[in-house]
């Protein structure tokens, strides 16, 4: 699988390039900022782009801007955004603006090589990946009238995994139950929370994140 990496920190970029190569990915290019990244992708589109969210010149959301541009001319390139912080508004924006094949992780996650490699592959396969810290923060926060109180522990677990972007198949693997059982859990969760089941995976993630964010 071919990757292009973008990060303004040379240490991190080089380190990541080395380890993803060890896991069996091929790094076809490295960029220091969004503009360079877009250029590289335009010349030779990879399977997945792994980019820092915050890069020069403004250290704001250049990564998302570059990703959006890439998606416009190379819709088959998977987009994995890394950041020192994971913020709900970014996750919502990624789910809303990108039609799947997008990931949003803390940079720390890269250090767990096998898990990170799996996440990159999921993005490449068109799935959605949302950092677990962000989701657990949302799931565990107190609410005025907590609708999550209605859920069983298992259902809550399903909800959290769903918010991270896991597909039904991935859920069944994670929980060691059949896909049918997973579908049952999901139906329960959606009914109890009054959510409309989205047809597409990233729509489902968006709905769940938005729901979790509400009071």
């Amino acid at each position: 699988m071919r990757l292009i990496l973008a990060d303004d920190g040379v240490l991190f970029r080089e380190g990541m390039a080395r380890i993803v190569t060890e896991v069996g990915f091929e790094v076809t290019g490295q960029a220091r900022n969004g503009t360079e990244l877009v250029e590289l992708v335009r010349r030779d589109p990879p399977d997945v782009v792994i980019t820092d969210l915050r890069m020069p010149p403004n250290f704001a959301d250049e990564g998302i801007e570059a990703a959006a541009e890439i998606r416009s001319f190379a819709p088959n390139v998977g987009l994995m955004l890394l950041s020192q912080y994971v913020e709900v508004h970014h996750a919502l924006r990624l789910m809303d603006e990108f039609d799947g094949a997008v990931g949003y992780l803390l940079k720390d996650r890269v250090s767990d090589l096998s898990a990170f490699a799996a996440d990159v592959r999921r993005v490449a396969a068109g799935h959605v990946v949302i950092d677990q810290e962000l989701v657990s923060r949302l799931v565990s926060r107190r609410r005025e009238r907590d609708p999550l109180a209605e859920l069983t522990d298992r259902e809550r677990q399903v909800l959290a995994l769903m918010a991270q972007g896991l597909t039904n198949a991935a859920l069944s693997e994670e929980l060691f139950v059949s896909v049918k059982t997973v579908e049952g859990y999901i139906r329960n969760v959606f009914t109890k929370l009054g959510l409309q089941p989205g047809e597409r995976e990233h729509r489902r993630v968006l709905a769940v994140l938005q729901f979790l964010r509400q009071q």
Partner: protein, 668 residues
């Protein structure tokens, strides 16, 4: 210059209006003129004078300012009185004239309406508008009663006996006796009307400031003079003629008040009238007492007595005059403060908002020396700018040099010097013909010295605030820089180390070193904890989301992370200045932290809205309250930060009643 201001206010009357006014003038002239020719009746003369004077003044006012309501009211009063005057003259004429009963009738029944209309006119002086809706209701009540009375008076001859018309009421309806009985109960309404409009005038006089106060003084002065003349006439000549002749004084004074109040100041006139009047009264009374009283007790020649009295009067005159002047000053200019009062009032104003401080100085100086106009200038010798004025700031706010300021009497200039440097100036204008007494001069010097302190203190306060603002800005910049350095430096290194450890772990696993792999995993886990801590620390220093996505997103992020449920309501259009963004964010952040730590609240509400040029920030919870800035809660730091940007932190936190923390940030 003042005269031209008056002229520019005036509007040119249209041709139609001119014609209409001419018709009214002609009507009143014919009614009053023809009425006079029909004979002289003392008890009707005042109606004629009112008709002529009110119409004339009203017409003049309306010609100068066609939209002036009070002018139209004057015309209405004049016309009603003209009709009434003519009706009475005609109805009383020798040798009954044709249609005398009907025309005479017109001289009787409009009376209640005329009185009520005149009352309304006084109540609405000087702009033609009543003081408030409540006064308007009272005025309408008065008009309603008057209308009822006029109707009654028109239908039955209830008011005929008093007026002495030749012909009776032309309607000759039955029930005249019954009507007369009820009429008696309605008559006290007239007294009620008088009380009402007098009260309205007194209330307005007390509330009025500046121009309106001057206008009111014209009216009151004329009314009092007319009353004095009436009483004098009744007492001395036993005739109301003097009083009737004095009636036109009122509309004329009112007309001056409406059109020329800035040109002629009434205060010196009132002042001199009071001094002369009281002296005349005192001397007359004293003279009579001496001649009559002493003459009856001691048998001396009248010549000696006159001589003695004259001598006493001559000796007592100057002290009496001074005393009378003092009383008159107090009456006209209000209570003039003693030097001590003036100074202490000034120092008590030092606590006030800076913008109002110089207004306070101007008012205090005006009050202390009885000036008609005071301007406080601040700046260097060649660059003085009017900062405040009494009764108002001068229209032209241009820079002036000290030697350009008008110092010809009755104007005076006092430079404000503090620690050897010129800081500003105070200019004032006394009423024409009044000098600055030496006592006033000394008081003025003291006030000027105090003003020097105030200006110096203001400049220091400004410099302090500017310094505090610079510190806050620098602190924000430093926080942003440190966050950035952490992000690009330590955080990146740690994350990179994590990757290396991850790679090491994989190698160990691959080469069968399972114990090593486990230990590396442990180290990596600890490293990740350290990076997580560092991450939170960096976020606390400066939330990147604030510069990146603005206040609303940053506040929602705070809400996402809060340990207590938070309701966020944000009303913002567009981005705010960076400093305002950061300040509002820290206020909310600190308030949420406090709420989570101390309040035990169920829910916190964050409301942020930009209203005009201000950002209103409010964080309220339903917790146990009792938050104080000195409780080590970080609220003091917040208050300091807010003070630096010219805002204040309000904390409303009664024990058991929740906490409301808020501020209003200027964001022009």
């Amino acid at each position: 210059m003042l005269a031209t201001t008056e002229a520019t206010d005036a509007q040119v009357p249209s041709l139609g209006l001119e014609a209409c006014l001419a018709m009214v003038a002609l009507l009143v002239a014919v009614l009053v003129g023809y009425g006079w020719l029909l004979g002289f009746h003392v008890d009707n003369a005042h109606n004629g004078l009112i008709a002529a004077s009110f119409s004339a003044v009203g017409l003049y006012v309306v010609r100068m300012r066609p939209r002036h309501r009070e002018g139209w009211l004057f015309i209405a009063v004049g016309v009603v009185h003209a009709v009434m005057f003519f009706g009475r003259q005609y109805g009383r004429a020798e040798g009954v004239l044709p249609a005398a009963s009907w025309i005479g009738w017109l001289g009787v029944w409009p009376l209640p309406l005329a009185i009520a209309l005149a009352g309304w006119t006084f109540m609405a002086f000087p702009h033609g508008r009543l003081l408030s809706p409540a006064w308007r209701r009272a005025g309408l009540g008065m008009l309603a009663i008057a209308a009822a009375m006029a109707t009654m008076s028109a239908l039955w001859p209830v008011d005929y006996d008093r007026i002495g018309l030749v012909s009776p009421n032309p309607l000759e309806l039955p029930g005249a006796e019954l009507a007369a009985r009820y009429w008696r109960y309605l008559l006290p309404s007239y007294a009620l009307f008088q009380v009402l409009w007098t009260a309205a005038v007194v209330v307005r006089l007390r509330r009025a400031r500046g121009d309106e106060a001057r206008q009111m003084r014209w009216l009151v002065y004329a009314t009092v003079m007319a009353l004095v003349l009436l009483v004098t006439g009744l007492v001395v000549f036993r005739s109301p003629v003097l009083g009737a002749l004095a009636v036109p004084l009122i509309p004329v004074a009112a007309g001056i008040a409406i059109l020329k109040y800035r040109l002629y100041d009434i205060d010196p006139v009132v002042n001199k009238t009071l001094v002369v009047g009281s002296l005349v009264l005192l001397i007359t009374v004293g003279y009579i007492a001496m001649v009559v009283g002493v003459g009856a007790l001691i048998p001396v020649g009248t010549g000696w007595l006159s001589l003695l009295t004259t001598a006493i009067v001559a000796v007592a005159f100057e002290p009496l005059r001074r005393r009378a002047q003092c009383v008159a000053d107090r009456f006209v200019y209000g209570h003039r403060p003693t030097p001590y009062e003036a100074l202490s009032r000034l120092s008590s104003q030092l606590d006030e908002a800076p913008e109002e401080l110089f207004d306070g100085i101007a008012a205090t100086v005006a009050n202390a020396v009885g000036a008609t106009e005071v301007v406080v200038w601040v700046g260097e010798e060649a660059r003085l700018l009017p900062q405040a004025g009494w009764p108002r700031l001068p229209d032209s706010r241009k820079l002036s040099r000290l030697d350009e300021l008008d110092s010809r009497p009755p104007s005076h200039v006092r430079p404000v010097v503090h620690q050897g440097a010129l800081r500003g100036a105070i200019t004032l204008r006394k009423p024409i013909g009044e000098a600055l007494t030496s006592a006033e001069g000394r008081l003025l010097d003291d006030l000027v010295a105090q003003t020097g302190l105030v200006i110096a203190q203001q400049q220091q306060a400004k410099e302090l605030q500017a310094a505090a603002r610079r510190i806050v800005t620098a602190q924000d910049a430093a926080r942003r820089r440190i966050e950035r350095d952490l992000h690009d430096g330590a955080q990146e290194r740690l994350v990179t180390m994590g990757i290396e450890l991850g790679s090491l772990e994989e190698h160990a696993k691959a080469t069968g070193g399972h114990e090593l792999a486990a230990r590396v995993r442990d180290v990596r886990a600890q490293l990740l904890e350290a990076t997580a801590e560092l991450r939170e620390l960096a976020r606390g220093l400066h939330p990147m989301v604030l510069s990146e996505a603005g206040l609303e997103t940053a506040l929602r992020m705070l809400a996402d992370r809060s340990a207590i449920p938070v309701r966020v309501s944000v009303g913002l259009a567009g981005r705010l200045p960076r400093e305002v963004d950061a300040t509002a964010y820290y206020v909310v952040s600190e308030a949420l932290t406090n709420a989570a730590r101390h309040s035990g609240a169920e829910v916190v509400t964050v409301e942020v809205a930009k209203i005009e040029q201000e950002l209103q920030v409010r964080v309220s919870d339903d917790g146990r309250g009792g938050a104080r800035p000195d409780g080590g809660t970080g609220l003091q730091g917040l208050a300091d930060r807010l003070a630096a940007v010219g805002a204040t932190l309000t904390i409303d936190s009664p024990v058991g009643g929740g906490t409301r923390i808020g501020t209003v940030l200027p964001c022009a």
